[in-house]
Subunit: 541 residues, 2 copies
């Protein structure tokens, strides 16, 4: 039995190695159009930045090592240019000399990944995406050539764009970041994204949002906002498209997303052909629809599933949550599931909770504050998504929430997780427990909450905004129109409050919750500003 694999990196090579472990007798041929296989795509930006110093450490395997260990027939610089499903053959073109060959298969695995869309035309300025070893070789060559005072424009402020920015800055390059959308890292909701912009500005990056490149000259870029930017290099990071054209040409079903359609065993519309990784559609865990999630973990896992399917032992693939994380100048941004923006765009009912917990117990030195947002199904209390922005401990909390989602735990049930606590690692009520408690209070109606963007309307409708922080905190900055009544004085001074519905708030929501409970029981109609002053401020700026 002979299996051909197109693409020799995350998904393709995971399929190849697993298939060999399952079937020593199988004939396995891997075609890779680039010169390298099994390289650490995700490490490429950090090689540009000099954080990863050894270029070889990016090359996890070579055709030779794969032949020795796994008896794989790995052919680099060989591009598959056609699939003939009837004959069960592929046509392959050698990238170096243009010669073509034909190879037959019993099973075919498509793992061709994704590429950037229509690239900008350079007209003198080198334009590179940051996706391959060749890309980083070219980028570092340009930068070495230019020497001191190099300047780069990064187009696109997604995950890879931000990693490019961080690493160019680490090399001493002056960077301008151009983003079509209204903010960097558009999957983040607006009130969560502030720290990302701050971090960029704090590190000397010029940021243009709501902007696109309209022209590239000899050594400059022109934006539609009227800016001209001198640059030595353009990094193209405007997102990617699945490499599905081969499949499409061969009559294999490709979905509306542009990704190859597969079933839960990674099988395409042709039962002899499997597909995995960035080139395929995933099933979204939130709405069950086809979606694109271009992540290494899924590529590796689905590569293994495809091999298992060929060997007849596959467990079905699970829907994709889209867990993702990125580091930027010491900031960590992580997310899972859907954002509020996306839920709203799809008209999907949702409840929102914001908290600003500590990475570990406040009384132990070094705790860092993070901002957390949880999106919840109001009917079922299911977790629809989460976003966390901060420093230490962000990665832990997103993984716990992703695991809880996979386990089908509700938002309120987060409060009951028994998470490891000693003061240098967490809190007796860990950040994830605490967001669960808050969710529980909203679910049971114990506290009614109001969101940052609803405050204006509430005040317009005559509600009174009560700031329950201390007088000192109030004097350092408050929401316009708020009256100050510190939490600990409410019982004594409640008669001072006007006879309107109330919105209470504190710094992060916690004292507001106690205030809301107190006032509710004293007969008042009251809502607590979710996430407090901090979320309001982040949302309004």
């Amino acid at each position: 039995m002979k299996t051909i694999i197109i693409g020799g990196v995350a998904g393709g090579m995971s399929a190849a190695t697993r298939l060999r472990r399952l079937d020593e007798a199988a004939e396995i041929v891997v075609f890779e159009r680039g010169p390298y296989v099994s390289f650490a795509n995700c490490g490429l930006p950090y090689y540009v930045g000099g954080i990863i110093e050894d270029r070889d450490s990016l090359l996890l395997q070579t055709p030779k090592s794969l032949a020795a260990r796994f008896r794989l027939d790995v052919r680099v610089n060989e591009e598959v240019i056609q699939i003939n499903r009837k004959a069960k053959t592929v046509r392959v073109s050698n990238v170096l000399d243009g010669t073509t060959t034909t190879e037959s298969y019993d099973f075919l695995i498509l793992a061709a990944g994704a590429t950037t869309g229509l690239p900008l035309s350079g007209r003198g300025v080198p334009v590179r995406s940051l996706r391959t070893v060749d890309d980083v070789d070219a980028i570092t060559a340009v930068l070495e050539d230019v020497g001191a005072d190099a300047r780069a424009v990064v187009v696109g402020a997604g995950f890879i764009g931000l990693e490019a920015v961080e690493n160019l800055v680490a090399r001493g390059v002056h960077v301008t970041l151009v983003q079509r959308g209204p903010r960097p890292l558009s999957p983040l909701d607006p009130e969560m994204a502030g720290p990302v912009l701050e971090a960029l500005l704090d590190h000397g990056v010029d940021v243009h949002v709501n902007s696109t490149v309209v022209d590239v000259g000899a050594s400059r870029v022109q934006l539609d906002d009227g800016s001209f930017i001198r640059t030595d290099l353009i990094i193209e990071a405007r997102g990617v498209r699945p490499n599905s054209h081969l499949a499409r040409s061969a009559g294999i079903t490709v979905g509306a997303t542009g990704g190859i359609t597969v079933d839960e065993y990674q099988r395409t519309s042709d039962p002899s052909i499997y597909a995995v990784g960035d080139a395929v559609e995933k099933t979204d865990a939130i709405d069950g629809a086809a979606t694109l999630v271009t992540m290494a973990g899924l590529a590796n896992r689905h590569g293994r599933t495809a091999a298992d399917a060929i060997a007849g032992i596959a467990e079905p693939s699970a829907p994709a949550l889209g867990t993702a994380i990125v580091g930027l100048f010491g900031l960590t941004v992580a997310m899972v599931g859907w954002s509020e923006t996306r839920l709203a765009a799809y008209g999907r009912p949702h409840r929102v909770v914001h908290t600003h917990p500590s990475s570990h117990a406040g009384y132990y030195p070094g705790a860092e504050q993070m901002s957390m947002k949880l999106l919840i199904d109001p009917e079922t209390d299911a977790i629809l998504g989460a976003q966390i922005v901060g420093g230490a401990g962000v990665d832990k909390r997103i993984d716990v929430i992703a695991t809880a989602m996979t386990g089908g735990l509700t938002a309120s049930q987060l409060s009951r997780l028994e998470l490891a606590y000693a003061p240098q690692y967490g809190s007796a009520k860990d950040a994830v427990n605490m967001v669960g408690y808050v969710a529980d209070n909203v679910a049971t109606g114990s506290t009614q909450s109001i969101q940052w963007h609803e405050v204006d309307d509430a005040m317009g409708a005559g509600e009174t905004l009560v700031d329950v922080r201390t007088a000192d905190e109030f004097s350092r900055g408050a929401i316009p129109g708020a009256v100050s009544l510190p939490l600990d004085e409410i019982r004594a001074r409640i008669s001072e409050l006007p006879d309107t519905p109330l919105v209470v708030h504190c710094q992060v929501g916690q004292r507001g919750h106690t205030a809301a409970r107190l006032l509710t029981q004293l007969g008042r109609d009251v809502r607590n500003l979710d996430g407090g002053y901090r979320t309001w401020l982040a949302g309004m700026s």
Copy 2:
């Protein structure tokens, strides 16, 4: 309605504050026999070590702040000495002046915690446990008094004992650790515990295992192993007993563990009396039996549950997993569920998997290796427990596994968790995914494994042990009797292997897995040494 709470720290005060939020009209009296309430027990050792510098930061609340915010009637230095269930009253003795009073209740919450058992008699050497603010004041006073070259003996190498050791060393104190059991941190299985002993020895701690104190003289301790140790201070950390005598005297049911028996709403055998925290029995998540788990998270959570129950809105408490973590000289040790030792003692069938993954992608600088052990139900593939020892990222992985256990995910399903991956945070196949893959291979029988302690027997029965690491690795140290046949040469040299059943092994298990698959398909009877040379070495030493 009047609720009396006995004990004003983790469980008691959580109940009090929550009850106030639920019922502004309730009368709530908290009796605390010590001079402080709401203090950070878990921070106490770090104050001794000077890591927490500000003593006040340990006092999260005071009777005054609790009165202001929560209208709680908190009475410190007041010990409840009797419960009269018929009259629904308690007798209270003032610790300072011995006066007694009687107070009536509608509901009573017992949150009296736990205390060390029969303390050692000091005979001149100060003996303190490390449980209260008074304890740390006394400990630091002794150490300041002694000045340079102070010496301490810590009796008991559990979590608190180890924290005491670390912090005494941080203060420059010479420490001797005395442990009755065969190793420090006895909940860890033997092959996982090596790094704990290493860390202690590396930091100049004298360790006596299988030892007990038989006598305490004017300035020395005598052990049953014949040692005499000069010391200025003894820290009593031999574990705790639930403070359940008040309940027992009042005829409330106390279980065989010594903890107060409660239902899932934290109600004792008397429907007006609730109990929470270290004083009560929990339901073990693994076998459903009554057990003691003395953790702050559970105390806080169950305090809230008791308040909810009194207010008539409680969700039932979940069984306890016993997730725990401790830091020791930069080492992190974490666990959840049952150890192999305990499973074996209870005769509970189990499967074991060891791995030694990286905290993050190996190609990104700073990755630290950890050791992970997973205990699995062979019938259902349910996760019965986990132990992780290492540095960075240990806390994250134990929390993910604890969450997976709560969500009812099987060991194999860990491989499908979609965990956040960028190279500085994890791996495309995260440590938790990887242990899931290994578990999956054992579950499906894809690879048969053998444990470190079974190697001798296997070799005795005539099986051949094949070391599939490189010749270089083999020459640096190998299992006696193993033959060297590097993985990449197996296909060529298989005829060299004797015709016996085989046990293969590599450094951590990963190459051994590939070797096992290969040899199986080449018709050999083969098992892979779980956790490889590393686990074997840890287990044998």
